[in-house]
């Protein structure tokens, strides 16, 4: 199969970038999008050109490393799928694809399709945890957690931190990401003692990282490869408001 790829090329954060057109004549519908870029890169290297830089690691859709826009959609057209598992079956022979990095002030471009997402780590460091030093934990069954609560918590905990939610959001908000962590921990009894502090500190950090505000558009939910639901944002808002009223 043949594809025309327009790919964003940018040497580093301080140089301007541009779209460059490539023709892929030896694409194959069983390939993943990333394997298609691998093959393109092999061609480029042998021609003496610089290969396209893109982030990837596990290629099983779980590490959250990969991700870019394909024709304006984060991770491309297939629901609940990261680009590493997006096979070219999703496209037709002769399709023209535009590949661009995540666009957000908080995610500066490092090179080509690779961006800096360390802002997410700092949001987690601000309170996305339960303080439990190694060693002092009670028996695992000492805390009873109903199946429904455990399942809902797991739904939110499935977030892979890829950043698609931010990239898809017209405001570049990090509400789905932050809400997922607040919900994962807040739905569990272990997460209660720090619930207020967590919401306050994480939301403050989101602001410092210059993510936008959430206006409940829902693009994030639509592109999330792990199908995290908008409910987590409602939870985030509730925890934040309640903590703002009661905490000093």
């Amino acid at each position: 199969m043949r594809l025309i790829l327009h790919i964003w090329r940018q040497k580093n954060g301080s140089s301007p970038g541009r779209m460059v057109r490539y023709e892929m004549d030896d694409a194959n519908e069983d390939m993943s999008m990333l394997e298609c870029l691998d093959v393109l890169n092999e061609h480029l290297i042998l021609k003496g050109e610089e290969p396209v830089t893109f982030e990837h690691d596990c290629r099983e859709g779980i590490c959250g490393s990969c991700g870019f826009m394909i024709n304006g959609l984060a991770h491309g057209p297939s629901r609940a799928t990261t680009v590493c598992q997006l096979t070219l079956r999703n496209f037709k022979d002769g399709d023209i694809l535009y590949l661009e990095p995540w666009r957000a002030k908080a995610f500066p471009v490092l090179k080509d399709l690779m961006v800096d997402r360390t802002a997410f780590d700092r949001i987690i460091a601000a309170g996305g945890y339960i303080s439990a030093d190694t060693g002092g934990a009670p028996d695992g069954n000492a805390i009873l957690i109903g199946k429904d609560a455990a399942d809902s918590s797991m739904d939110a905990a499935a977030c892979i931190g890829c950043g698609a939610c931010v990239a898809a959001c017209p405001n570049a908000a990090a509400a789905l990401f932050t809400g997922a962590k607040v919900s994962h921990l807040g739905l569990l009894p272990q997460g209660q003692p720090e619930r207020d502090r967590r919401a306050l500190r994480m939301v403050a950090q989101v602001g410092e990282e210059r993510f936008g505000s959430c206006t409940n558009i829902g693009e994030c939910e639509a592109v999330c490869p792990k199908e995290i639901k908008l409910d987590v944002i409602a939870r985030l808002n509730r925890d934040f408001r309640s903590a703002s009223l009661t905490s000093r």
Binding site: E42, Q85, T118, I130, M154
Partner: protein
């Protein structure tokens, strides 16, 4: 080099307690004066960094990914074992210990394995406290399943994403320490050499993968938790970035390499579909709990699976191993899949595949139950293969998954270089010649949460360490060496890409040092690997520069090390003239085709010492003694 495993005396169930009591402690106020470097941020490295930070040490943690949350521990699907006996089905610490020693085909150290089984219990408690959302029963108790050849239900899980949830728990604990200032994190940074001063590990040389800056970091102890080396085979279930560079460079600085040929082939992966393929995708072993593995009885049968009547199918694992059936350990399942494919009975394109069929389970339990158990795995399978596994059987084939070998460590997890500790998959210690399912997560967390916090302290309290600066002669020499290597890789400007050479290495290794091995094949592989290494250094092309993000350069450096490690794996496989666990030498098998161990001559850990470039490495043997679990022929019939 003298190998001293430092196994404490006394009965096996008291060794660890005694060792802990005998350890020297570091005064709380002095801990912050010690600098500890941790390379790797997966379950072993991340948990070590968080725990040492909590204790008050001054920790620097390095990972090549953009965030510690991406380490490949995240991809583990099935679960984590613990001897809780919550199911009242006869489990105990002793039984987990027994199963692991036996499953490892009697090539692991008893004392280490016992400690692992002891620690397993506390790991679950720790993870629950951190908020890991393990599966629960309606009443709120933790749920368990049986997994990978165990006859008790001791596996804890979080859907098919157990590794992810355990890693996030550990990552969050790590981020908390980063926020507290006890741990400084260096993401997108790769370790390229180990600095050894006066015989002790005192620091590392790193390359910043964004700026290309080569930097020196000094410390009082260095901990490597950099995972396994399965990517020697190019195609494996490992992440693309997983590499052996840190442990290999440490090997070249004097750390012995233990049992390099012990690699694990996982039986349930999606088969290879084309020569562009970049990795193999694992389908969790838990699928074998409900799926039945079969091939047609007739060779060359091209009918679709649903057209093949029941009596013309060969459920070969159920037939050969009636008591374990489809749940035999990984090495046995993999080898049997290979042998039916070798007979021409393999299915799918190229005949390299066997069916994993859920029709019976769906009939017995309903599609809804199967969906609840394995929904995400079925979806993933369908995305990749475009086939619906609820309707047609999955096709699976074995793939390289885990490496039991790694840097040799003593009971304290210290390598033969004092001050260099090695944790998790990067060390050789606990799994012998074959790892049981759901034991990798257990080992990573046991090492990081519950072993290294004690043993690093003991080392620091017992050592008189002079202050060393980054401009020390040794450190400067290492830095120049790394810079020179980088320059050399960029200057070759040959005609072959890194990936094409890597694929070729992988094929040599898979054909000759993979699922089954022969002396003749290994001899051939040795000369091929050496030839390929020569070609690499003359004909590789690495575009771009060294002062920028350069993924080709990163890959080239890693491949240079794989090309040396591949040779060592073949040398090790060649000297081990027996079959055990994942190491199957065709010359040494029972009449029924099972692995034939030779305890009289090979009951030892092979620890290899580097002797310089292009010199044969020297073999040291650590004899293995089995006081509690007496070596027997493993039988799963």
């Amino acid at each position: 080099m003298k190998l001293d495993s430092k196994i404490p005396s006394g009965p096996i169930d008291q060794k660890w307690d005694r060792a802990k009591f005998d350890m020297k402690l570091v005064n709380p106020a002095n801990k912050r004066k010690y600098n500890v470097i941790i390379v790797g941020s997966g379950l072993a490295g991340g948990s070590a960094a968080a725990s040492l930070g909590e204790l008050g040490y001054n920790v620097k943690c390095f990972c090549f990914q953009d965030s510690p949350r991406r380490a490949h521990s995240i991809a583990a699907q099935g679960g984590i074992n613990a001897a809780k006996n919550y199911q009242n089905d006869g489990d105990s610490i002793y039984r987990l210990f027994y199963d692991t020693v036996k499953g490892g085909d009697f090539r692991a150290r008893e004392a280490n394995v016992y400690r692992l089984a002891q620690n397993s219990v506390r790991i679950i408690d720790q993870c629950v406290a951190q908020g890991v959302p393990f599966a629960r029963e309606y009443g709120g108790l933790l749920s368990n399943r049986s997994f990978g050849g165990a006859q008790v239900s001791r596996t804890f899980y979080a859907r098919g994403q157990t590794g992810q949830q355990l890693l996030l728990g550990c990552y969050q604990a790590l981020e908390r320490q980063i926020d507290a200032g006890t741990v400084k994190m260096f993401p997108r940074t790769e370790m390229l050499d180990l600095i050894v001063i006066d015989g002790r590990a005192r620091g590392i040389i790193t390359r910043n993968l964004v700026t290309g800056q080569i930097e020196t970091h000094m410390a009082d102890a260095v901990v490597l938790a950099t995972g396994g080396y399965g990517n020697v085979f190019f195609l494996s279930t490992n992440a693309k970035g997983s590499n052996a560079t840190a442990i290999w460079r440490a090997y070249k600085r004097g750390a012995a390499f233990g049992n390099p040929c012990f690699t694990q082939i996982h039986p349930t992966c999606i088969p290879v579909s084309g020569d562009y393929q970049s990795k193999l995708t694992l389908m969790s072993e838990s699928l074998r709990n409900d799926g039945r593995i079969w091939v047609p009885k007739k060779a060359g049968d091209t009918r679709t699976p649903n057209q093949i009547p029941e009596e013309e199918r060969d459920y070969f694992l159920e037939r050969k191993y009636p008591s374990f059936g489809n749940l035999v350990p990984r090495d046995v399942a993999s080898r049997n899949a290979k042998s039916v494919c070798d007979e021409g009975r393999g299915v799918g394109p190229g005949g390299l595949g066997v069916y994993l069929d859920f029709a019976a389970a769906i009939g017995r339990l309903s599609e809804a139950v199967i969906k609840e158990r394995y929904g995400n795995l079925f979806d993933m399978y369908q995305r990749i293969t475009d086939e619906n596994p609820y309707k047609v059987p999955m096709r699976i084939y074995p793939a390289i998954h885990y490496t039991m070998g790694g840097l040799w460590v003593d009971y304290q997890l210290m390598s033969t270089v004092p001050g260099l500790f090695v944790l998790g998959e990067a060390n050789f210690s606990d799994h012998g010649a074959n790892r049981l399912g759901a034991s990798a997560l257990m080992q990573g967390l046991s090492d990081g949460y519950f072993v290294i916090p004690y043993t690093v302290g003991d080392y620091l309290a017992n050592s008189k360490l002079d202050k060393v600066e980054v401009d020390h002669t040794e450190a400067r020499a290492c830095l120049e060496g790394v810079a020179g290597l980088t320059k050399r890789l960029l200057s070759i400007q040959g005609k072959r890409t890194v990936d094409s050479l890597h694929r070729q290495l992988g094929k040599i290794m898979w054909d000759n040092c993979g699922m089954s091995r022969t002396g003749a094949g290994l001899d051939k592989a040795l000369s091929q690997v050496r030839g390929l290494r020569e070609e690499f250094w003359q004909n590789v092309t690495v575009p771009g520069s060294s002062d920028d993000i350069n993924q080709s350069l990163e890959k080239a450096g890693r491949l240079a090390d794989f090309l040396e490690l591949g040779e060592l794996m073949c040398i090790d496989a060649n000297q081990r003239k027996e079959s055990c666990g994942g190491h199957f030498r065709e010359e040494y098998q029972t009449p029924e085709g099972e692995a034939q161990r030779d305890d009289e001559n090979f009951s030892y850990v092979a620890a290899w010492e580097y002797q310089g470039p292009n010199q044969p490495p020297q073999l040291h043997k650590e004899p293995l003694e089995f006081e509690y679990v007496h070596p027997s022929q493993r039988s799963y019939k």
